[in-house]
Amino acid sequence: MNKILATTCLLCMILCSCHKDLDDDVFPTSVTFNFNHSWDDTPVTATDFNSLKFTNAHGELLSISKLRYLISRITFEKPNGEYFTFDDYFLVDLTQENTLSLTPNNTIPPGEYSHVYFTFGFNNEDNYMNYTDLNSASWNVPEMLGGGYHFMQLEGKFIDATNTETGYAYHYIRAVDNTQSPLVFEDTFFTVDIGAVNLSKSTNFNMNMNIAEWFKNPNTWDLNQLNNMLMPNFDAQMMMYQNRQNVFSLESVNPF
C-alpha cells in the first residue's frame, strides 16, 4: 500500500515539475508596472503626506493624507489584433510600498506588441463582481449609488477661502445620477495606452501619476466648491473623468 502511494507521489512530482518546465518555455516573459507619483515635476511619496506643501491650479495650498486607486486589465496587444489580458487587478496604496509595483501572476510570450494598456478602475463587467480583498479594504461603493467599487480615493486638507484648514475627499467612482430612478450611469473608467513595445525578456514599465492633473485640465478644480460628498455628485464625477487625460505618463521601459 505504502509502496503504491509513494510511487504515485513520485510520479505526480515528476509529472508536475515537467508540466511547469513546459509552461516556462512557452511564456517566459513577466512584466512589472511600477507606479511613481508626482505633483507636476516634484516626486511624491508617502513621506510627503500630511503636510500642506502642494498648490493646485486654482491656487489652494493642500496636503495629501491618502491616495489609493485601482488598476485592472493590463493588456498586451499584437499587431495582428491578438491580445493577452491579465486577470489581476491591483489596489495601489501609497502608504504600502509593496502595492506600488504590480506584477501579474502570469507571463506572456515575447514579441512585438503594438499596444500596451491598462484600465484605471474597473470596466462595467469587472465592477459588479465580488472581491473579498477589496471588500476587506472597505473599497465598495454603496448600493444606493449602484454598488461596485471606488476607482480612486484621494484625501487630504486644504486652506479654504476663509483661511481654515478643511478636509477634502476626492473619491472617484462610476458617475451616477441618483436623482432618477432607475439610476442613470455614465462610465468613468478609462484605459491608459502606453504604446508599442518589443518584448524580448522580462520588463519593467515605469509609470507616473501626476496628481496635480486631477485638479487642472480642462477643469480648474475649486476645492472650496467641491471638497466632499463627491460620490453622489454626478457633475463632479464627470469633471474628474475629464481631468484624467494627462494624469498618467510612461517614464521608461527597462528590460531586466
Binding site: L10, N50, Y168, A169
Partner: protein, 354 residues
C-alpha cells in the same frame, strides 16, 4: 536499470518508516478550525491564524480557563473576564477600566470578537501591540491592570493542581511559560466570533428590517447624510470596522495622543482604531475614553459636535458646522440601525461563557 525497483523499494520503506516514527513521537491535540460565518466566507478575506498556533480543542479550552481565572493577577483578584465580560460582548460597563485594587486605567476596555479578522494584527486603541499572542503579555504585567510578573505567573500555574496537565494536553508539554499562556488565550480569543445580528440575518434573507432600520442604514451609507461606511464597514464588510486609525473629531487638544504616541509622528496624534459597530447594545460607554454614555451622545457628536484639529480625518466633513447635521428622524433611525448590528446569540452563547 534492473536495480531501479530495488532502490525505489528502499526509498519507499525509508519514507514510510520515517513517517510512522514521526507520528509516534509527537502528540497532536485535536484540531478545531474556526467556524467561519457564511457572510464572512463570501465577502471578506480569511482570518489570520499563525502557522505556529493552530486552533485546537485543548488549546481553546485552556485559553478559556485562563481567561476567566484571576490567577493571572498579582493578588488573585482580577481575571481578563472582569474587564472583558461575555455578557457585555467581552467589554466592561465602566468608562475607564480599573485594575487590581481599583487602580484606574486610562482607557475604555475594548470588546473582544472577530479578532482573527483584524488583518493588520494591530491591537489596542492605539495599535501598540502586534498579534494576539503578544497582546496577552501586556495586561498581565500592566501596573494599571493585573500588576503581575511572568515568573510569578508561570510559577503559580506550574504549582497548580490542574494547569500542568492542561498545558500537556494543549501543547504536548507540562512546562508552562508565558509564550504558551499567550498562545492558549489567543486561541480562545480567535474562537469569539460574532455574526448573528438581526442585520446579518437580513443580509442572509432570514429577517426583515423595519422601515426605520432601513432608513438608518441608508443614513449610514449616504455620503450626503451620515457617511459612516468609509470607516465602519458596510453590508459588504461585515466586520463593521476598517481596523484603521483615525481622528474622528473628539477633541481640539489631545490628552491621549493615541497612535501618535506609538509612531512618534505628530500627524498620528489623536488617532485611534475604529471600533466595530457590532454589539453596541452591550458595549456602552463609547469611545477610547468612554466619554459617551449613550448612542444618542455618539450620534450627536457626529451630527453637531465635531471638534477641529490638525489631524481630524478629511472624511469628517462640515466641521465648521459641527458635523453633518442630521434630522431628528435620521438620528433616531440611525440609532435603530446601529442596534440591529447587536448579536444576542453571541452574548448568550454558553460555550464562550464561564
Amino acid at each position: 536499470m534492473k536495480k531501479w525497483p530495488t532502490y525505489l523499494f528502499i526509498l519507499v520503506i525509508f519514507i514510510s518508516t520515517a513517517c510512522s516514527k514521526e507520528n509516534e513521537a509527537s502528540y497532536v491535540p485535536t484540531p478545531s478550525p474556526l467556524n467561519i460565518p457564511p457572510l464572512f466566507e463570501s465577502l471578506i478575506l480569511s482570518p489570520v491564524i499563525p502557522a505556529n498556533n493552530p486552533q485546537t480543542i485543548e488549546g481553546i479550552a485552556l485559553g478559556k480557563k485562563l481567561f476567566f481565572d484571576p490567577i493571572l493577577s498579582i493578588d488573585n483578584s482580577l481575571a481578563c473576564a472582569n474587564c472583558h465580560a461575555p455578557e457585555l460582548a467581552f467589554s466592561d460597563s465602566e468608562s475607564i477600566s480599573s485594575g487590581v485594587n481599583g487602580t484606574l486605567g486610562s482607557r475604555n476596555a475594548m470588546p473582544l470578537f472577530n479578532l482573527a479578522w483584524n488583518y493588520d494584527e494591530l491591537f489596542f486603541w492605539d495599535g501598540k501591540t502586534f498579534s494576539l499572542e503578544h497582546q496577552v503579555f501586556v495586561p498581565v504585567t500592566d501596573p494599571l491592570e493585573m500588576q503581575n510578573t511572568w515568573p510569578v505567573v508561570e510559577n503559580k500555574l506550574q504549582q497548580h493542581a490542574e494547569y500542568p496537565e492542561l498545558f500537556e494536553k494543549a501543547f504536548g508539554t507540562s512546562k508552562i511559560d508565558s509564550v504558551l499562556v499567550g498562545k492558549a488565550i489567543a486561541q480562545f480569543e480567535r474562537s469569539l466570533i460574532s455574526a448573528n445580528s438581526k442585520f446579518d440575518k437580513y443580509l442572509l434573507g432570514e429577517a426583515d428590517l423595519t422601515p426605520e432600520e432601513r432608513n438608518g442604514f441608508e443614513v449610514f451609507m449616504d455620503e450626503n447624510r451620515g457617511d459612516c461606511f468609509h470607516c465602519h464597514g458596510s453590508d459588504k464588510n461585515p466586520l463593521w470596522t476598517d481596523n484603521i486609525f483615525h481622528n474622528n473629531g473628539l477633541d481640539e487638544n489631545f490628552k491621549d495622543l493615541g497612535l501618535g504616541a506609538i509612531t512618534g509622528d505628530p500627524a498620528d496624534n489623536g488617532k485611534f482604531k475604529t471600533p466595530s459597530l457590532r454589539n453596541l447594545a452591550f458595549t456602552a460607554p463609547y469611545m477610547h475614553d468612554g466619554r459617551f454614555l449613550t448612542l444618542e451622545d455618539v450620534i450627536n457628536h457626529y451630527s453637531e459636535g465635531l471638534k477641529n484639529s490638525a489631524t481630524i480625518d478629511p472624511l469628517m466633513k462640515k466641521v465648521a458646522n459641527g458635523g453633518v447635521n442630521l434630522s431628528d428622524k435620521d438620528k433616531a433611525d440611525l440609532k435603530k440601525f446601529l442596534l440591529s448590528l447587536s448579536d444576542y446569540e453571541f452574548v448568550n452563547n454558553s460555550s464562550i461563557n464561564k
